[in-house]
Amino acid sequence: MRENWRRTLIVGLAFVLATAGTFVFAYRAGRQAQYLRAADEPIRAWMSVPFIAHAHHVPAAVLFQAIGVAPRQPRDRRSVRHLAHDLNRPVPEVIAQLQRALDAAAHPSGGQPR
């Protein structure tokens, strides 16, 4: 009897947790979906320069120029980490430089923000 009661309590708790989880994850998904188009894509070490350029609607050449890299081919898909290694510079520094170039492209000096 006592064993039965304990099992019911555990399953009841699991039910409450699963229900709460459903609402929390559904709410988070809905909220993120709402701002999907407006969300800013952060720069990660695995991203290539053409990928970052595409995500931020900026020409890749502007970003390559900002970090002082001559692309090896028209679509140089080396990651930021790879480029930082080739440039012998820390990854966060290259990311910061790319971010500054993106900010400058979004708000050109003397012009209106995009």
Partner: protein, 199 residues
């Protein structure tokens, strides 16, 4: 680790995608949804071919799933049998296996394209349950190709929002998993509370 895999797909395209999804399908936790979305984004940048991407992702996952099924069927069946005999639960294991066979097809399909974290376990369970291989292959291929096509197409459409889309899909997946768990626990509770008590 995940960063390096994403960089590999970004650099080498479809061959890297094939290898990584095959490893993940055996049960190694890798960010496959994000990789498929990334592949879609690369397609929209003309850095990958749509059909090649679906073929690579589909073939890689099917290969990994078949390996999981084979381990369950020919490597794990003996162990499961021994364990169930030792625990004296042979009949209930048999009943579970019968259920797995009855619900197998749609279960296999849905864990390929929606509840993907459960996929590797279903592969093993289908193998140990002796689910017919040709049916497993059919549902597996259907689910994997559908899943690859859906996620790659989403990545293609939201090609400039890869990370944000991946976060939305991740939360949606967990919401579905939690909902199914809530339904199972709720059903168990209701049927248990309604059962007349023996005195």
């Amino acid at each position: 680790m995940n960063d390096r895999l994403l960089a590999l797909v970004s650099l080498y395209g479809a061959p890297a995608l094939f290898g990584i999804v095959a490893i993940a399908a055996v049960g190694v936790p890798l960010p496959i949804t994000l990789l498929l979305i990334l592949a879609g984004s690369m397609i929209s940048q003309n850095a990958m071919n749509f059909w090649w991407a679906i073929a690579a992702a589909g073939a890689g996952s099917i290969l990994g799933d078949q390996a999981g099924y084979a381990i369950g069927r020919w490597g794990g069946a003996g162990a499961v049998e021994k364990l169930s005999r030792r625990l004296g639960a042979r009949e209930s294991v048999r009943a579970m296996e019968a259920k797995a066979q009855a619900w197998g097809g749609p279960g296999i399909f849905i864990t390929r394209c929606l509840l993907t974290p459960l996929g590797p376990w279903i592969n093993l369970a289908s193998g140990t349950a002796g689910y017919p291989w040709h049916r497993f292959l059919f549902w597996d291929a259907l689910g994997e190709l559908t899943g690859a096509a859906v996620y790659i197409s989403l990545g293609r459409y939201f090609s400039d929002r890869v990370m944000a889309l991946s976060a939305v899909l991740g939360d949606m997946s967990w919401a579905v998993v939690a909902l199914i768990a809530a339904l199972i626990f709720g059903y168990w509770l209701l049927s248990h509370l309604r059962r007349p008590r023996a005195r």
